[in-house]
């Protein structure tokens, strides 16, 4: 550190602004801030800092960026801020506000679940499926985990000039097959073609409606301490399959996407223990970890997961180790997470295991009271850590 800097210096304006925004106004800005005494017992001071952070996290989300970045589409914190600060802010209404996978709307005497999703997966074709069945299954699953019986879907296509018709045929055939398998019909649609280079081959949007017949009040906000967290099978298959299929990693594994319609799996669960189910979600972008964070935040509870109980295929675990990704964040397309009353947990697992898609179903953790809003993981090594919402994007365009 012997060299003085003689070059011109600038300041980072954005950083100074962020500091000002968060600092307590007034000359005694540091009053109440725990002072640092090296080597002293610090639990109390650390606790104060943690509380301050929680306050900062509860603050109204803002989108500071001037431009959309890939992080806004990654399903993590940036996506959440975008949804809450831009979309929810503009569209706010009681049906949208819970931000569930599908909205529950009442039409006449009927309760309907209504949802939509867009698909931009790259590559379009991958082991275990393609963008077509993904687009059908994804929307069917959003309806199913909302407790609805999926009924009708729409399909919108945005195609790039030069896209092979043969590929479109393959995609549409898969959609038809997936719709038949899920017992839904595609009843309306739309097509747009954009100039070469303005899209990447084929994007699909699907929307769907389903009938809610059980009279259940499902929602992540209803989770309460003691509830059991169940996943319906090994996690992360879809995300890692897509990643490997892109060939950027020079890794190979016998792995296929888990894309599948979960409506029958869900039906089996609801028929067995319906009133004991608090919430279900299908674990897509952001993986199981994102769902558990939604539970913790919406219900104001802690979720404690045991790493050793989370089912992960060895191939997925191996790829995740190499890439430095936690399989809990990796997308699935045919797995559900269910929050269930503890008294019904064993029956719920048994009901899921009775369906071919749920043979790997297992309880992975519990809802607890404290610390509210956090997901904790008991690591296989015997320690404890947080599983937070994802920041940044390990795997873009997986669905």
């Amino acid at each position: 550190m012997t060299h003085q800097d003689t070059t011109q210096q600038q300041r980072a304006g954005w950083a100074e602004e962020a500091v000002t925004e968060h600092s307590v106004a007034g000359p005694n800005a540091d009053a109440g801030y725990p002072t640092h005494t090296p080597g002293t017992e610090h639990t109390g001071r650390e606790q104060l800092v943690l509380e301050r952070i929680e306050r900062a996290r509860r603050a109204r989300p803002r989108v500071r960026e001037k431009l959309i970045t890939l992080a806004h589409g990654a399903g993590g914190k940036a996506t959440q801020s975008l949804i809450e600060a831009i979309f929810l802010d503009a569209f706010r209404n009681p049906l949208l506000e819970p931000l569930e996978d599908a909205a529950a709307v009442t039409v006449g005497d009927a309760r309907l679940a209504f949802t939509t999703d867009s698909y931009v997966v790259s590559p379009l074709f991958f082991p275990g499926g393609n963008i077509g069945d993904l687009a059908v299954n994804g929307t069917v699953n959003d309806l199913a985990v909302s407790g609805a019986r999926p009924a009708h879907l729409s399909a919108g296509f945005i195609l790039e000039e030069g896209f092979p018709v043969e590929d479109l045929r393959r995609i549409v055939t898969s959609m038809a097959e997936a719709a038949a398998a899920a017992g839904v019909s595609i009843v309306t649609g739309d097509t747009k073609v954009v100039q070469r280079g303005k899209a990447d081959g084929c994007y699909i949007n699907t929307a769907g409606v389903g009938l809610i017949t059980d009279g259940l009040n499902l929602g992540v906000a209803t989770a309460r301490p003691g509830d059991v967290v169940i996943v319906s099978g090994p996690v992360g298959d879809h995300g890692i399959t897509i990643m490997l299929e892109r060939g950027e990693l020079d890794l190979d594994a016998e792995l296929v996407s888990d894309t599948a319609p979960v409506h029958e799996l869900v039906r089996g669960l609801l028929d067995a223990v319906g009133p004991s189910v608090r919430a279900m979600r299908d674990a897509t972008r952001g993986g199981v970890a994102t769902i558990l964070n939604e539970v913790a935040k919406a219900a104001g509870v802690a979720v404690v997961v045991d790493e050793d109980l989370v089912p992960v295929r060895p191939e997925v675990r191996g790829a995740c180790e190499l890439l430095g990704i936690d399989p809990l964040y990796v997308a699935c397309e045919g797995r559900i997470v269910a929050i269930v009353d503890p008294a019904a947990a064993d029956d719920a697992v048994a009901a899921l295991q009775a369906h071919p898609l749920g043979t790997g179903a297992t309880a992975v953790g519990r809802v607890a009271e404290d610390p509210p809003g956090l997901v904790l993981l008991k690591t296989g090594f015997g320690g404890t850590r947080i599983i937070d919402l994802l920041v940044g994007d390990p795997l873009p365009r997986i669905c």
């Binding site: 550190m1 012997t2 060299h3 003085q4 070059t7 011109q8 210096q9 600038q10 300041r11 980072a12 304006g13 954005w14 950083a15 100074e16 962020a18 500091v19 925004e21 968060h22 600092s23 540091d30 801030y33 640092h36 610090h42 639990t43 650390e46 943690l50 301050r52 952070i53 900062a56 996290r57 500071r64 431009l67 970045t69 890939l70 992080a71 914190k77 003691g226 950027e248 990693l249 404690v304 060895p314 180790e321 607890a368 404290d370 610390p371 956090l374 904790l376 993981l377 008991k378 690591t379 296989g380 090594f381 320690g383 404890t384 850590r385 947080i386 937070d388 920041v391 940044g392 390990p394």
Partner: protein, 379 residues
């Protein structure tokens, strides 16, 4: 999974933790610095502190190359990406690192062509595929990644690829450890040495630490049991009155390092007289630049760089965190103005940064959680 599970065995960890507790002198407080960000990540990811007695603190060191990159160099890199016909290539963890005017992600959103790669050889491939573009590799990292950059330059030279260059920001850990040892505001009892760096440079370069500064150092692997064992080895040295370099990671680290890799680095690169480390300031002979012989592959020579220094915001205490003077949560902007979504300091960016590791994995009261888990085990 083989070669992983055996190093994460909770049973063995408990046994080792008991041995560690037994070695601690009553009333004495121990401070060990894990130099490498990879270790910091492991410690938090596996909840390793749960196994350590309260009298042992692990202090997180400067061994995260992303964290020590000053903002001005990020601005320089973005200025390179803005040049006509340039494709900038970078490791993923560099993408969110903020400079004075934003990050690679922001720059990419504004229209530059910045691509993530997993290896510098991937960047060279992009150069081959795009002969009409100028492809630059954002070379960052400590001794661990330097050889792969050097080998890539050698391959580009051998193949006569003319549209490829590197923006060299490679730094060296040994001068940084020395700077920390020379820093007056820190009392350490020993070092957990960087395992990956040591696979390249071996253990010899650390011999000055016990010899001149009287501190033990144990080069450690990256699984949680590796780190626990290295803590145990450090305590053993202290208990037995020894002070030396030991190699816990001998399954990977040869004592003399990887001579082939070192030769490649020496062929392509040379020491800079000094280099700025974010938070630590200018450190003499602590970084590498491309030799004149390979000037054709040196983005610093090929392009004009702004080279403007950007001062860290006053509130940012990355320097103290990097030197281990402050715990991440003791920084005044930690978790409020500075979060992983909007990092002011680089320690909050990379998953190997001490602040990001603490924020993402350790942001809870261990005491409260212990009480909770005792309650739930009773229930």
């Amino acid at each position: 999974m083989r070669f992983v599970d055996e190093y994460r065995d909770a049973e063995k960890a408990r046994a080792l933790a008991a041995k560690i507790a037994a070695l601690c002198e009553p009333g004495r407080h121990y401070k060990f610095m894990e130099v490498c960000g990879g270790h910091t990540h492991t410690i938090y990811k596996h909840g390793l502190e749960d196994y350590l007695p309260e009298s042992i603190s692990l202090v997180h060191g400067p061994g995260c190359p992303v964290c020590v990159l000053p903002m001005g160099r990020v601005d320089d890199a973005i200025a390179l990406a803005e040049q006509p016909d340039v494709i900038m290539t970078s490791f993923g963890d560099m993408m969110r690192v903020p400079g004075g005017r934003g990050s690679f992600f922001d720059s990419s959103a504004a229209g530059t062509d910045i691509r993530m790669v997993y290896s510098p050889l991937d960047a060279l491939k992009i150069a081959r595929q795009n002969p009409d573009k100028r492809v630059i590799f954002m070379a960052i990292g400590m001794e661990t990644t330097t050889p792969s950059t050097a080998m890539t330059v050698l391959r580009a030279a051998a193949e006569g690829i003319e549209n490829f260059s590197i923006f060299c920001n490679h730094v060296m850990i040994v001068p940084a450890i020395k700077a920390i040892l020379d820093s007056p505001d820190l009392r350490l009892d020993g070092f957990i040495g960087p395992g990956h760096v040591s696979t390249v440079i071996g253990c010899r370069p650390y011999e000055y630490i016990p010899a001149e500064y009287g501190k033990p150092i144990v080069t450690a692997g990256f699984e949680p049991l590796d780190i626990l064992q290295s803590v145990y080895m450090l305590l053993q040295q202290l208990a037995e009155g020894r002070c030396e370099v030991e190699n816990q990671y001998s399954r990977v680290v040869p004592w003399d390092g990887n001579t082939v890799a070192l030769r490649a680095v020496a062929e392509v690169m040379e020491l800079r007289p000094y280099f700025e480390w974010r938070g630590l300031g200018f450190i003499s002979h602590s970084a590498l630049q491309v030799r004149e012989k390979y000037a054709a592959f040196d983005a610093e020579r090929l392009f004009k760089l702004p080279g403007v220094r950007v001062a860290d915001p006053k509130a940012c205490q990355c320097g103290e965190v990097l030197k281990g003077v402050l715990k991440p949560w003791e920084c005044k902007v930690f978790g409020t103005a500075c979060t992983p979504e909007m990092p002011i300091g680089t320690c909050m960016v990379s998953s190997e940064g001490a602040c990001a590791a603490y924020y993402n994995f350790g942001r809870f009261s261990r005491q409260r959680v212990r009480e909770v888990s005792i309650e739930s085990s009773r229930a």
